[in-house]
């Protein structure tokens, strides 16, 4: 015996997750085209690790394995980890990051829907803290052939200097630390028209995938708009004040993980704010903190740290931003933990 409603929309968690995976394809394709097949290998390793960990944890927790594996949430985490890591990491780093995300980031908190932190960002932060050097090597454009890339990922000897370079954000930071000004740093070959050579195209592909998510109503406009708006605003103000020390808004919007973060990371429903106003605050704060870390911090890109910081604030944000209920334009539910 079950009760009303007897009608259900044709929807499922799996459908949502698969749509997210599809929306990631343009950017993945772009990245592979520009930098080689290393990313695909990474995605494969991360996916396999995630599924294995998920299955292991589910059976340890005596949960139905097949059904939960089929929801696709582990794959989304795996793919997000793979795309935000530098493409030519040795395989064991990907395994460490992914299993950390699934085992500790997700299942120790109670599994799907329970994790307070974005698992992919957790993995990224663990890796960048543990292996800062490896995490800052990104392949140059027209880098290496497929065989070499394969060899590297599988742990072969790495001829680092030959084909790897810093990311634009990294180059900018190092340059500025060396007292060069923004314009001078931008002259270096790592920079393309707007952000970094090639990277601006990857960023635009993330944006395209994000628009697809918006069109399919998987995400709402609040988080991307607030994220990109805040990033443009804060970097714009700094740039207007001192263009020799601060990069332009266009650079910040298209460099590093801004687009990926705005459409795919900060929009993770489980660890993000849920109310419309809460989403605006949540995303704007992430962008602000990410910019602060980029401009003044010890790491080239700060989105991962900013996301984790704001994840902590989500219960508070949600409570303080409850929308008014039909007929009550006053008195939202007050204080207390979620």
């Amino acid at each position: 015996m079950y009760n009303s409603p007897y009608l259900r929309q044709n929807t499922s968690v799996r459908r949502v997750m698969v749509t997210v995976l599809v929306a990631m394809l343009p950017a993945i394709a772009m990245q592979v085209w520009l930098f080689g097949i290393g990313l695909l290998l990474q995605i494969a390793i991360a996916s396999a690790t995630a599924l294995a960990c998920e299955a292991a944890m589910l059976s340890l927790r005596h949960r139905p394995v097949a059904r939960a594996l089929g929801d696709g949430s582990a794959l989304v985490t795996a793919w997000l980890i793979a795309v935000c890591l530098p493409p030519l990491l040795p395989w064991w780093m990907i395994v460490i990051g992914t299993s950390f995300a699934i085992v500790i980031g997700k299942h120790l908190y109670g599994g799907l829907g329970q994790n307070p932190f974005n698992p992919a960002m957790l993995a990224y932060c663990v890796l960048i803290i543990s292996f800062p050097a490896l995490m800052s090597q990104w392949p140059g454009l027209q880098g290496s052939d497929a065989a070499t890339q394969l060899d590297w990922v599988l742990g072969g000897e790495r001829a680092l200097d030959a084909v790897t370079g810093a990311t634009p954000l990294d180059a900018l930071r190092t340059g500025l630390l060396g007292n060069a000004d923004v314009a001078a740093v931008m002259q270096s070959p790592a920079f393309g028209h707007l952000a970094g050579a090639g990277w601006e195209w990857v960023a635009l592909a993330w944006g395209a995938g994000g628009l697809l998510l918006l069109a399919l109503r998987i995400i709402t406009w609040h988080i991307p708009v607030a994220f990109l708006g805040a990033m443009a605003l804060v970097s714009g103000v700094a740039w207007l004040i001192d263009p020799s020390h601060y990069a332009s808004p266009a650079f910040h919007l298209l460099a590093g993980g801004t687009m990926l973060g705005a459409f795919f990371i900060a929009t993770d429903p489980v660890s993000g704010a849920t109310t419309p106003r809460g989403k605006l605050i949540f995303a704007a704060c992430i962008a602000l903190i990410a910019w602060l870390i980029r401009a003044f911090g010890a790491y080239p890109d700060g989105i991962a740290f900013a996301v984790l910081l704001l994840n902590i604030c989500v219960p508070l944000i949600d409570i303080k931003t409850q929308p008014p209920v039909f007929g009550h334009k006053v008195e939202p539910p007050d204080g207390g933990a979620r």
Binding site: M1, Y2, N3, S4, P5, Y6, L7, R8, Q9, T11, S12, V13, R15, V16, P64, R67, A68, D71, S73, G111, L112, G113, Q114, T220, P269, V270, G272, T274, T275, Q322, P323, P324, V325, F326, G327, H328, K329, P333, D334, G336, R338
Partner: protein
């Protein structure tokens, strides 16, 4: 002219599935061998039976008298003999029985002679009494006695009378067909209601997926030529037919949970209710029949004009129930209730009977954890955060659920309809609400039990003391008075004197008990943690506030 429509947030657009049952006109269903007429078919007091087993009744004869003003009469739909007055299974999810008058029709269908009633000349109060005695209640499903709502209240007038023909639930078409067939009489009923409510305007609203009904109503409105009456077509979106949502769409007013729409100058009735009012006043017809949509997994989906009390099995037989039917539903697929018993009768609240099959309404997929995607919040027409209600209801954290306005939930099902995790969200809300009610009932019961117990104890003590006192008095009197002289004067006086003090003492004790009860109100919750206690206190506070408004939350169908 209404030149601006408003909108409510949320809502969903399920496939309306209305065409199958509107192909054929309404069919008048033959009488069954037995009619089971429940006495209690409306919100309010249960009517007293006016007939006994063996008595003969005529069509339209009153068989149940309203119990007070918040009640409504019940009538025999046809002539025949009362064969039983006993509890019978009701069309209710619980499958519980309730007292019903069972009539065997004699096939003659002799109607009672109708008392003429000149409603044009009657005072509003008289019209209301007449409607109560004619058994007119809201036919949109809430079955609230209509006469109670046909009162403009203190202000003496109403801004807007809304006649609700939106009928937003999929499959249900009884109002649609009624609007197509009897548009003039619906409007005439609406105008009577307008007069009783002293309403400035009448808005007859229906969704834009009923073009035939809209055309019929508009033509009828033109023919009546009343400038204050308007037919308004609103966009199709479930639950646009919810009274609060419809009032919002038409007037922009949001009536909060716990207040009357009349406080905002609006009153809302279902189209079938307007027609019932017209028939009662103009033709003296009591409410003994209604239109019921039979749809879903049946061979011939259709609307039937049925006598109230007809067994549901009779309707399904007429529509041809398909063999793979796995469950029966009264109402629509979004808010309908499961019917445990096919022999339960059609009641005044029965607007639709739906047969379900595994292919029509697939059994729910396994429930996954909530991923906080917020789809439910976007779909909620009450602007709630359904997933928060779910978390707190599931965790039995009822105080928090109430803070998130659990009782503002209208159980429309939109949230569960869109949830990608297939969580039966509304079940959790129903569970939480019933738990909260049960707790409050338990608490009340415990309080009055304690009061009784304390009073009994006190009385036992008191009696012991009195006996001792009497004994002492007698002993004291003995030496002075000879036994032959009869009872001692002292003893004679004592009981008489004790009479009044005794009463005073009883009263004092009752007062003490009450005071004590106040002081230890949370006794039955002693085992709870302070946090839980605080929650209960908060709930009580809310309940107090709610009970101040009590009775004011009259559903508007």
């Amino acid at each position: 002219m209404l030149n601006k429509l408003f909108s409510f947030n949320g809502g969903v657009k399920p496939d309306p599935n209305k065409s199958a049952s509107t192909r054929e006109p309404i069919a008048r269903l033959a009488l069954p061998p037995q009619l089971v007429i429940p006495l209690h078919q409306h919100i309010g007091g249960t009517p007293r039976p006016l007939v006994t087993v063996g008595s003969t009744v005529l069509g339209g004869q009153r068989i149940g008298a309203p119990d007070g003003n918040v009640s409504s009469a019940v009538h025999a739909p046809t002539s025949g003999r009362v064969v039983a007055i006993e509890p019978r299974p009701m069309p209710h999810a619980s499958g519980l029985s309730s007292p019903a008058v069972v009539i065997e029709p004699d096939g003659l269908d002799t109607a009672i002679e109708r008392e003429p009633f000149d409603w044009h000349a009657a005072a509003p109060g008289e019209i209301r009494d007449f409607l109560r005695d004619a058994g007119v209640v809201g036919l949109g499903g809430a079955v609230f006695p209509s006469h109670l709502k046909l009162n403009p209240g203190k202000s003496g007038h109403t801004d807007t009378l809304v006649i609700n023909g939106a009928e937003c639930e999929p499959f249900i078409t009884c109002d649609d067909m009624l609007m197509r067939t009897e548009p003039e009489n619906i409007l005439r009923g609406a105008l009577i209601m307008q007069r009783m409510l002293a309403a400035k305007q009448v808005l007859v609203a229906l969704e834009d997926n009923k073009p035939e009904a809209a055309t019929a109503l508009k033509a009828a409105a033109r023919a009546l030529g009343n400038a204050s009456l308007e037919v308004v077509v609103v966009p199709t979106r479930y639950p646009a037919g919810g009274a609060k949502q419809l009032i919002r769409v038409l007037t922009g007013i949001e009536v909060p949970h716990g207040s009357r729409s009349t406080d905002f100058g609006v009153q809302c009735f279902n189209v079938a209710t307007a027609l019932a009012v017209w028939r009662a006043l103009e033709h003296g017809e009591a409410l003994t029949r209604r239109i019921v949509t039979v749809a879903g997994n049946v061979e011939r989906p259709r609307n039937f004009d049925v006598a109230i009390g007809t067994p549901i099995s009779h309707l399904f037989a007429a529509a041809g129930l398909k063999p793979d039917t796995d469950k029966l539903i009264m109402g629509g697929p979004m808010m309908g209730i499961p019917l445990p018993n096919i022999d339960a009768p059609v009641v005044k609240a029965t607007n639709c009977l739906l047969a379900s099959s595994p292919t029509l309404f697939a059994p729910p997929e396994p429930e996954l954890p909530c991923i906080r995607c917020g789809e439910c919040a976007r779909a909620c027409p009450a602007d709630l955060q359904p997933f928060e209600l779910y978390w707190h209801s599931r965790a039995r954290n009822f105080g928090r659920a109430q803070e998130y306005k659990l009782f503002d939930c209208i159980e429309c099902g939109c949230c569960a309809y869109v949830c990608p995790s297939h969580i039966p969200l509304v079940d959790y809300y129903r569970y939480a609400k019933s738990e909260i009610w049960a707790r409050e009932r338990d608490k009340d019961a415990a309080d009055s039990a304690r009061e009784r117990f304390e009073f009994r104890n006190w009385r036992a003590d008191r009696e012991k003391e009195e006996k001792a006192a009497k004994l002492a008095a007698r002993n004291a009197a003995k030496p002075a008075v000879k036994p032959a002289d009869g009872p001692a004067p002292a003893a004679d006086v004592a009981p008489a004197a004790a009479e009044d003090p005794k009463k005073a003492l009883i009263e004092a004790a009752m007062a003490r008990a009450r005071a004590q009860k106040e002081a230890v109100a949370a006794k039955n919750t002693d085992a709870l943690t302070p946090a839980q206690k605080a929650q209960i206190d908060a709930a009580e506070e809310r309940r107090k506030r709610a009970s101040e408004l009590s009775g004011s939350d009259a559903p508007t169908e």
